[in-house]
Symmetry: C2
Amino acid sequence: MTTLPPMIHVVDDDESLRTALLRLLGAAGFEARGYASTGDFLLQPPPDRPGCLLLDVRMPGPSGLDLQATLRCQSNPLPVVFLTGYADVTASVRAMKAGAVDFLTKPVEREALFEALQRALDRDAAQRVARAEAERLRAAFAALTPRERAVFDRIVAGQINKQIADTLGIAERTVKLQRAQLMAKLGANSAAELGRLAERLQHLPD
Amino acid sequence: MTTLPPMIHVVDDDESLRTALLRLLGAAGFEARGYASTGDFLLQPPPDRPGCLLLDVRMPGPSGLDLQATLRCQSNPLPVVFLTGYADVTASVRAMKAGAVDFLTKPVEREALFEALQRALDRDAAQRVARAEAERLRAAFAALTPRERAVFDRIVAGQINKQIADTLGIAERTVKLQRAQLMAKLGANSAAELGRLAERLQHLPD
DNA sequence: GAGACTATTGGACGAAAGGGCAATGGAGCT
DNA sequence: AGCTCCATTGCCCTTTCGTCCAATAGTCTC
């Protein structure tokens, strides 16, 4: 899994500002791409690649806040930094409550912008790691048969094989077999690891 | 552990507004208390009691943001809702980044205020549950001797008693004893539970 | 030094876990 | 029916776990 360099998506209807931002970001070593509107960005779905968004708030058509709300519903949303010319407290609070990394006002200082974008990229990287981890976990559990899953639940509940066999109405030998199978599927080498997996699974968004 | 009803701490230098807010909150069934300044609030440290803060931003002396920053450093900070008469995007973003529940502007609508305060109280309740849980966990682990802790680490790493005895340079018999002791101290009945505890401990802020 | 206390160890026993081998029985396919 | 495939089970064996009683060595207190 080769990690692509991150890309910053700049959505602003002011073309001169947009190109200036792209040039500034490019000069700083960032890969960046511009979009004249929310629709432009949604029409060109970027490949699943590390990055973040730099959004204007007020634009003809859907606003930056609308775009943020839309992206939040999808599976792998990129972190958002807002950059607006209008001092709108309501919008800023709404954006931050919706998870924006920062909400900057034009004219923006170079350092403030870069600092915010870097935080957004860091957050994206962290989210990617966490999502990949969650995905692996989910896939591993999805590979379990219903019976294996039932045995798993009772193991982590502290039951011993005999009790599990009893409550499930199957032979203890079968429990042992399914126990070995589920541990193999989950890549666990001990009951303690099963407990750790159970705890992590429980705390996954679902 | 009897849960006291939550209290809303209103910090605002405008006395007429403050009393109006207290009356409004009282009429809505909230327990509320007023403070004329940040210093007043800090001088009267409220007992550790469920609640939240309703803060003005601009006040003579330390601002609401200063108070928020100070409270964030203590162990059990109450959630903060800001209520300000000045439309200051910079302040609102700073407040939200620092974890404020909401940032409202005067004049505020009744429902918006109550909704924000309710969210703050809900967050406080959730934080209290999480903190109590974390505290219990930490206390349980603090009761372990260094040797028991070492054995615990190796158990959750998947080592069996014989290996643990070998790496620690002690007899297997001793490992068994310490294993039983640490499980008793942690209230665990199975290796799987030890794994769960290890996972939870790892994700505690520390 | 005597006594108390803790940590550690040895030996031993029953229960449980892990796994190999073979048999059973049902579902599905030819 | 004949066949394979797979889940289930019984039997047996070894290893590990959990726990009993007893004993040793070291530390701390009086």
